[in-house]
């Protein structure tokens, strides 16, 4: 079933891609091929392989149970939140929180996870910023 969904989505993607390619505005100077043809060739490739996947699916992969999927989803949300938090809260604080969360969800007991998060954040800060001189996100406190 998963492969059939993949094939179906691939086909929709290919159609969408071709439609978007026809909408590309051509400029008045152009080469004989133009900017539309190659994307359309690619879309046809995607479409054909999607059809093949749809009609000849592989064995079903092992999907995790719903609670795990939910957790993966939650982690994605945390990572996006991290991306937004970086410029406002600074590197060390946001990294410590995110790393602690990840470590906790990967099976570390909460207290140890907080310590691990702080250690990872400070470790990266020391190695990459203080020693190697990489610029990291600066927060209100300068780190």
């Amino acid at each position: 079933m998963s492969d059939r969904i993949l094939g179906g989505l691939g086909l929709l993607l290919a159609i969408f891609f071709i439609w978007q390619a026809t909408l590309i505005k051509e400029s008045f100077i152009s080469d004989p091929v133009g900017p539309k043809v190659f994307p359309i060739i690619i879309a046809v490739l995607v479409g054909l392989s999607s059809l093949a996947i749809f009609f000849k699916p592989d064995d079903e992969p092992e999907w995790p149970e719903f609670s795990r999927l939910f957790e993966v989803g939650l982690t994605i949300v945390v990572m996006i939140a991290y991306a937004y938090a970086l410029p406002t809260a600074g590197f060390v604080v946001s990294t410590a929180v995110t790393a602690a969360y990840l470590s906790w969800r990967l099976g570390t007991p909460p207290v140890k996870a907080v310590i691990a998060g702080a250690a990872i954040a400070i470790g990266i800060y020391v190695v990459f910023h203080l020693i190697l001189g990489l610029s990291l996100a600066r927060g209100p406190w300068g780190f």
Partner: protein, 511 residues
């Protein structure tokens, strides 16, 4: 003798204090990256690229650092294969078959030392192969016009899909996805925006470094999250005694022919576009099994079964650098990542690299020789140090990997948008891996898409829109035929070959 002169010049470049230091750091980090399950050559190198880039290293030192990591990871993968029965990375998968039984027999130290020597032999001779084969390939490549390049790119995708994948349709889909992603942004030839949906951030296109780190490194975090609590990838090496760290001479003598054959096979597998070190070690092991396994000792801890895949994968690692440097078409996942590094530094690999930037090429090759010796020294007497690193549990390791990925990408652009795109690629990579869609064609597509299109359109401009120009020269016809059969034959002529490759769920890491 030009080649040897060039190589000597290369040594003069590589033998600076800074470059030697970088090679040493690279080898050390590489061995750790290879040894840790869940981190392999391609995601290890992927995480380090943005860092090398933001640290402002010039091309040669940066490349020396990263290829040392690449070679090092090929050495390191065997450590957890032998001690934990968990391949540290995909190419080391075959090493588990005889390595772990050897360790259980109390010969862990001998297995580690022997595989270290086999790795050295494979990598050493493959680097010589690189020295002599790459310049020859460059001579051929100088005859290439745009039409031939277009055919060559098609060939790379076709063999990648045909030989190295289980499901050709999925490989084709992956390639299409990658190429499609490459189309996003302003068209280089006419200056019109494509697939940008009015989003200014997309005008520059999707940065391939963002895509690579997301697909390879972040998706790994999701895989671990999904498998939390299962025994997968959490091993216990504390119970295993290393024993003596030198293989008896008789064992070396017994395995010498195996190493020689495996090196040759691995090198050839590496040079073929699209087939990397995993295939190299697989072919080496299966051929050796067929040739010398008369007493059916393979799989029960036969030293030859340890030497073959290790010589094979390290030789393939060197071989895969040949098409990457000489043609600009990578032969494996990690060389694709190295190609990304070169492109990020504004260096276009290919035949002109050898004439325009000989310092980069020969400095790199010399560094590979030096690194290889360093690796041999590190990997035999100091192997117990790496064994200790293996005991770091993934629940501490993976958060650090994720955070370093974010640091690297943020360091390049300082933009939240790129981080979002990286997370998106992480999710995409996780889904594709669950569905058994290979990631290497995606990366190759993102990397080569614009060049592929540019070559096609250049050929069309020369021929004034006559499509038959793509198939006009004997060289391009040959490439197309090779591409066609490389893709079709594995489908038609049976899956007997690849289907024997054991399927792993953690095929996390394409080499």
């Amino acid at each position: 003798m030009d080649t040897l002169n060039a190589l000597a010049h290369g040594f003069s470049i590589a033998l600076t204090f800074q470059n030697l230091g970088l090679a040493l750091i690279g080898c050390f980090l590489g061995t750790i990256i290879g040894a840790l399950p869940g981190l392999g050559p391609s995601n290890g190198v992927a995480i380090l690229i943005p860092l090398a880039f933001t640290l402002g290293l010039p091309a040669t030192p940066a490349l020396i650092l990263l290829t040392s990591v690449y070679y090092g990871a090929m050495y390191g993968g065997r450590i957890s294969s032998i001690l934990l029965n968990i391949p540290g990375d995909e190419p080391a998968l075959m090493t588990t078959l005889d390595g772990y039984p050897m360790a259980k027999k109390g010969m862990a130290g001998e297995a580690l030392a022997l595989s270290g020597i086999a790795s050295f032999v494979g990598a050493f001779f493959a680097t010589w192969g690189l020295v002599f084969l790459a310049p020859q390939l460059v001579k051929v490549a100088l005859l290439f016009g745009p039409a031939e390049y277009f055919a060559l790119f098609a060939l790379a995708f076709a063999t990648l899909g045909g030989i190295a994948s289980r499901n050709q349709a999925k490989a084709a889909l992956a390639a299409g996805l990658g190429l499609g992603i490459a189309m996003i942004g302003v068209d280089g030839q006419t200056g019109v925006p494509r697939f940008t949906f009015g989003e200014v951030h997309l005008y520059d296109g999707i940065d391939f470094l963002v895509a690579i780190v997301g697909l390879f490194a972040l998706s790994e975090v999701f895989i671990f999250l999904e498998h939390r609590g299962t025994t997968k990838a959490t091993g216990d090496a504390s119970g295993i005694k290393l024993g003596r760290l030198t293989p008896p001479l008789s064992m070396l003598k017994q395995t010498a022919p195996t190493m020689a054959r495996s090196t040759v096979l691995g090198f050839i597998a590496g040079v073929l576009p699209g087939a990397g070190a995993s295939l190299g070690s697989f072919i080496a092991y299966s051929v050796e099994k067929r040739l010398v396994d008369k007493d059916k000792t393979f799989g029960t801890g036969d030293p030859r079964g340890v030497a073959a895949p290790e010589a094979g994968n390290n030789a393939a690692a060197g071989g895969a650098l040949v098409p990457m440097l000489a043609l600009g078409v990578p032969g494996s996942g990690t060389t694709a990542v190295l190609l990304a590094m070169l492109l990020a530094l504004n260096i276009t690999p290919g035949p002109l690299l050898f004439t325009n930037n000989p310092d980069v090429v020969w400095g790199l090759i010399a560094a590979l020789f030096i690194g290889n010796v360093m690796l041999l020294i590190m990997n035999i007497p100091m192997v117990s140090l790496f064994v200790r690193v293996l005991l770091v549990p993934p629940r501490y390791l993976m958060p650090a990997v994720a955070m370093i990925s974010f640091v690297g990408i943020y360091g390049i652009s300082g933009s939240t948008f790129d981080l979002m795109v990286m997370v998106l690629f992480g999710v995409l990579g996780w889904l594709l891996r669950k569905l058994d869609v290979p990631l290497v064609p995606v990366i190759l597509g993102v990397l080569l898409g614009n060049q592929m299109e540019a070559n096609m359109r250049r050929a069309m401009t020369i021929s004034d829109g006559d499509w038959s120009a793509l198939f006009a020269s004997p060289l391009s016809i040959g490439l197309w035929l090779f591409a066609f059969f490389g893709f079709i034959l594995p489908i038609v002529a049976g899956r007997f070959f690849r289907s024997k490759l054991p399927r792993t769920d953690s095929e996390a890491d394409p080499d």
